[in-house]
């Protein structure tokens, strides 16, 4: 039979199964095929904190969502058009997210009475009418995989483990994806176990052929490549982009990179990645605890390296005292917080933006720290370089606030030309800076207020620094009241005076002068806010969007931007932390839209809320 090929402009697919079923790998491969094909895309993995929750339970469901399109897109999509469910729990856990009319491909192999009862289903949803409003392809994917591998020597268990590749093959056929990359990938991944490699390739091809030959799939789809700016692209997740940004920034600064870190979700991948790249002068130190991680990084900075520490909320809480020391020592230090749901252990694998005020104020004393935030997975690269620029130029600890959504989500990234990246070269102090061959460690650059970076090993510049208040210029211990007042104000002025780029406002209707509402965001809400703003504009209502890279200090033009609108809306994945900062600094009212579900905003819901504000509802 001839299959009809239908053209789509965008699709959202979610693949779900047990956390041991290889769902993340399957998602990654489909993403890579999609990237190679030239679609724009955005991904969102979602997995439990437990490494192997009991099989077949709702707690153990792991999923991967991919949004791809023939035009530029901003989010991994709100609700899937297609759900692939590899067991009953995966179907149950994801069913509520589907819109009516969505397609469900379900592996019926495990739909036994016992498995259904385990997750609280008394009858089989595939046959009892529960799925009537969806297009359902109920297929025993596991048995088909076993059949396809019947001629191999693989055990039933090993053969069954290839079912994710069978499903990937079927999806690849449905969406006209190129397959060569996946086959090459499998042979490379399992190069030491050729039998396993060939079994996975066979299952993948069998799934593809099943789609092509079976009559149950009347339609396959095509999503044409997107028109992206010319250049070389790759797909990249936020943590990887962040690690690469740190390497590139250190190279542009001409400094060795020293990472001190303690493993913590969802930041550990940065430690893993950096530990591979020693040839770039990267030292990674897996410390005994979070405090030692940042302590060692600060010690390395004292010695002339670029000290970096990576963590998430609970670890950042432990690092607070050392960040305060870095503020007092005025040494460069990059502190990366890949935020997750809190308080306490909270939701380790879920996303949140609730550490903004911790980064701003979470220290004893007046201890200002610059804060930057990336807005998308690929943007983590540029944000890391910006954090390094501020840390080295102003000799200060800098917070970089990523989050779980940016860390694990991915998107195409246009590769930068390295020589277009900012020159961050650093000059260490090399000679005395005062009369009588004296060296004054706290004599400041009048422009930046930064103090000299004089590293041990430099003759004639021996000096002592510490956490006790120090006298201006000499750095000697000082308890003098006026000196303390001066030093507190000077440290504040240094951070307040950091030069940052002006805020750019996206307001297509600006010329008409009718835009009354500005939606302002920071961090990973960029995608959902942008998608929501587009929807509101498409509905005929003007709305302006601006997104903050710098949370401290704010861009110099922020006050002026805010004053240009009647209403300012700030959506955040917290209880309104940026809204608080803006209110207190600019004395204006803010409409704070908040959500703390451990998941990104859905663009459709956000659009509805925004439109309500724009239309005065």
């Amino acid at each position: 039979m001839s299959t009809q090929v239908e053209q789509l402009d965008r699709v959202v697919i979610r693949i779900a199964g047990d956390s041991g079923d290889g769902m993340q790998l399957t998602g990654d491969r489909f993403t890579q095929e999609t990237a190679n094909f030239g679609n724009d895309l955005s991904t969102q993995p979602n997995f439990p904190a437990e490494i192997r929750a009991p099989a077949g339970t709702l707690a153990g469901v792991s999923s991967f969502q991919l949004h791809f399109a023939d035009h530029d897109i901003l989010t991994p999509g709100d609700r899937p058009d297609v759900l692939v469910a590899m067991n009953p729990a995966a179907l149950k856990a994801n069913l509520a997210d589907l819109v009516k009319g969505a397609t469900i491909i379900v592996d019926t192999h495990d739909f036994t009475e016992r498995a259904l009862a385990r997750i609280g289903w008394s009858s089989n949803p595939v046959t009892d009418g529960t799925l009537d409003s969806f297009t359902v392809h109920a297929i025993d994917l596991t048995q088909l995989t076993l059949d396809a591998l019947a001629d191999t020597d693989l055990s039933r268990k090993d053969a069954g483990r290839c079912k994710n590749m069978y499903a990937l093959g079927l999806l690849s056929w449905m969406y006209s994806r190129p397959t060569e990359g996946t086959i090459a990938f499998l042979r490379d991944k399992f190069s030491r176990r050729p039998a396993i490699a060939e079994a996975n390739v066979t299952a993948f091809r069998a799934g593809y052929n099943y789609g092509e030959t079976t009559e149950s799939f009347a339609v396959s789809y095509e999503v044409k490549p997107a028109t992206l700016a010319a250049g070389t692209y790759r797909n990249i997740a936020g943590n990887l982009a962040l690690a690469y940004g740190l390497i590139a920034g250190a190279q542009r600064a001409g400094l060795p990179l020293f990472l001190g870190a303690y493993p913590i979700t969802p930041a550990s991948d940065i430690l893993h990645e950096l530990s591979k790249h020693k040839r770039f002068g990267v030292t990674t130190f897996q410390a005994e605890d979070e405090i030692a991680g940042i302590g060692a990084a600060l010690g390395a900075s004292f010695g002339g390296a670029l000290g970096v520490t990576t963590s998430s909320g609970p670890g950042i809480a432990l690092k607070a005292e050392t960040i305060g020391l870095a503020v007092s020592l005025e040494l460069p230090l990059v502190v990366i917080d890949v935020q997750r749901g809190g308080p306490s252990t909270g939701l380790p694998t879920k996303t949140e933006q609730s550490d903004l005020l911790l980064a701003m104020y979470g220290r004893n004393g007046e201890a200002p720290v610059p804060v930057v935030a990336p807005q998308s997975p690929a943007d983590c690269f540029a944000a890391a370089i910006e954090a390094i620029r501020i840390a080295t130029r102003y000799r200060t600890p800098v917070f970089l606030l990523s989050d779980g959504y940016l860390a694990n989500g991915s998107e195409p990234w246009r590769l930068p030309e390295l020589d277009t990246l900012p020159d961050l070269s650093v000059e260490f102090a090399s000679e005395p800076n005062a009369e009588d061959e004296l060296f004054l460690p706290y004599l400041r650059d009048p422009e930046t207020l930064a103090r000299p970076w004089a590293v041990p090993g430099t003759p004639g510049l021996e000096h002592r620094i510490g956490g006790i208040e120090k006298a201006d210029r000499t750095g000697n211990i000082s308890y003098d009241p006026d000196n303390h007042d001066f030093m507190v104000r000077t440290r504040a002025a240094k951070v307040a005076g950091i030069e940052v780029a002006d805020l750019i406002v996206d307001d297509p209707e600006a010329a008409a002068g009718q835009t009354k509402v500005l939606v302002l965001g920071w961090g990973s809400t960029f995608g959902p806010i942008g998608a929501a703003a587009r929807r509101v504009r498409r509905a005929g209502y003007p709305v302006a969007q601006a997104h903050l890279r710098h949370l401290n200090p704010f861009p110099a033009n922020l006050g002026q931007v805010l004053a240009g609108y009647d209403k300012v809306v700030i959506p955040e994945m917290n209880m309104g932390q940026l809204a608080s900062l803006i209110r207190s600094q600019f004395l204006i009212d803010i409409i704070s839209l908040t959500q703390v579900r451990g998941m990104p905003f859905r663009a459709a819901e956000l659009a509805e809320m925004l439109q309500g504000v724009v239309t005065g509802g």
Binding site: L228, A292, L298, G299, L418, G457, R464, G467, I477
Partner: protein, 335 residues
């Protein structure tokens, strides 16, 4: 290369020393400044890092590079510095509260990693800077401001603790015995890797006389057990003998008694040095002094930098290599 032109006074700073008059810290500072020229290292390549407490003011009085950091964290900060700058001589100055209470974790990990640090642990068995609370090395039953009915805590023996972490160099000395202190400093700085030197130090304000038995010329011979490598361990009319799996002090031990212990600081198994450290358990006045353990094991900074050097041999980490890295395995081009 020894810089023989340096004198002790070259290591003094212009800062007024602010310890209490009579504090044992003065003696240690003088001994360290006096020893520095012998180290033969230019001042700019020496760094003193401290935590918080009376002893931690030490870096301000040393005309080298220095950092007075935060409570308990000096070993962690020094680990980052020593690992990234193997060309430096890094000292950590700490106290019994700083190193063994709030910073205990960093101390044991610096020791087990064998980071190239010389750690001077000033043990006065009391909290001084916070004005007189008991410390993790205070004897049980100690009456202090925070323990008016006597402390019920069992104290740490810092030497046993360090040996439990398999420290490669562990020694004990006394603030007032400059000659012994200097000889221990010499051995500690010659050692590659982490050296822990416990210095019994008198706090004349809050715990005066804590080590008087070891200082009084009439009593010290009865209680100090001198540890000298390859020498029989004898003091007064007593000696240390092997007794099953442990050691004990005995009287009237003949020269040819097979149980008589000849000190071996290079014994690879830390159990022997640990047994020495436990002699104080039988009678807390019994105090082995000197180098308990001095064994060779590659230092952490060396191993870390060997990996870095090896990686660089496989290809330079230049802009071309970075461009390749960023491209990944599956890039695509849009025209």
């Amino acid at each position: 290369m020894a810089d023989l032109t340096l004198k002790a006074k070259d290591f003094k700073t212009d800062q007024e020393v602010r310890w209490c008059p009579g504090c044992g810290d003065y003696a240690v500072l003088a001994a360290v400044q006096g020893f520095m020229p012998e180290l033969g290292v230019p001042r700019e390549n020496i760094v003193f890092i401290s935590g918080i407490g009376c002893s931690s003011r030490f870096p301000y009085y040393m005309n080298t590079y220095g950092m007075h950091s935060i409570h308990g964290r000096a070993p962690a900060i020094a680990t980052g510095l020593a690992t990234s700058r193997p060309d430096l001589n890094v000292f950590v100055v700490t106290g019994d509260g700083d190193a063994l209470s709030i910073g205990g974790n960093h101390l044991i990990h610096a020791l087990r990693r064998n980071v190239n640090l010389t750690i001077l642990l000033f043990n006065n068995r009391i909290y001084g800077l916070t004005k007189g609370q008991y410390s993790p090395t205070s004897e049980t039953g100690k009456i202090t401001k925070s323990t008016p009915f006597g402390s019920v805590d069992h104290p740490f023996n810092p030497i046993s603790l360090a040996l439990g972490a398999e420290a490669t160099f562990v020694a004990r000395t006394l603030d007032s015995d400059r000659k012994h202190l200097t000889s221990v400093l010499r051995a500690a700085t010659e050692h590659q890797g982490a050296s822990l030197v416990e210095i019994y130090q008198n706090c004349n304000i809050f715990n005066d006389g804590a080590f008087e038995l070891l200082k009084d010329p009439h009593s010290r011979g009865d209680w100090i057990i001198p540890l000298e490598h390859d020498q029989p361990i004898r003091f007064g009319d007593k000696a240390v003998i092997a007794d099953g799996l442990s050691l004990r002090v005995a009287s009237d031990v003949a020269e040819d008694d097979p149980r008589l212990v000849r000190h071996d600081a290079h014994a690879s198994d830390p159990s022997y040095a640990f047994a020495l450290s436990r002699l104080s358990q039988a009678d807390s006045r019994l105090t082995p002094m000197g180098v308990f353990r001095d064994v060779a094991r590659p230092s952490y900074d060396r191993l870390v930098n060997e990996q870095l050097d090896l990686a660089k041999l496989q290809g330079p980490g230049d802009a071309n290599a970075l461009t390749e890295l960023l491209r990944g395995s599956d890039p695509w081009t849009v025209n």
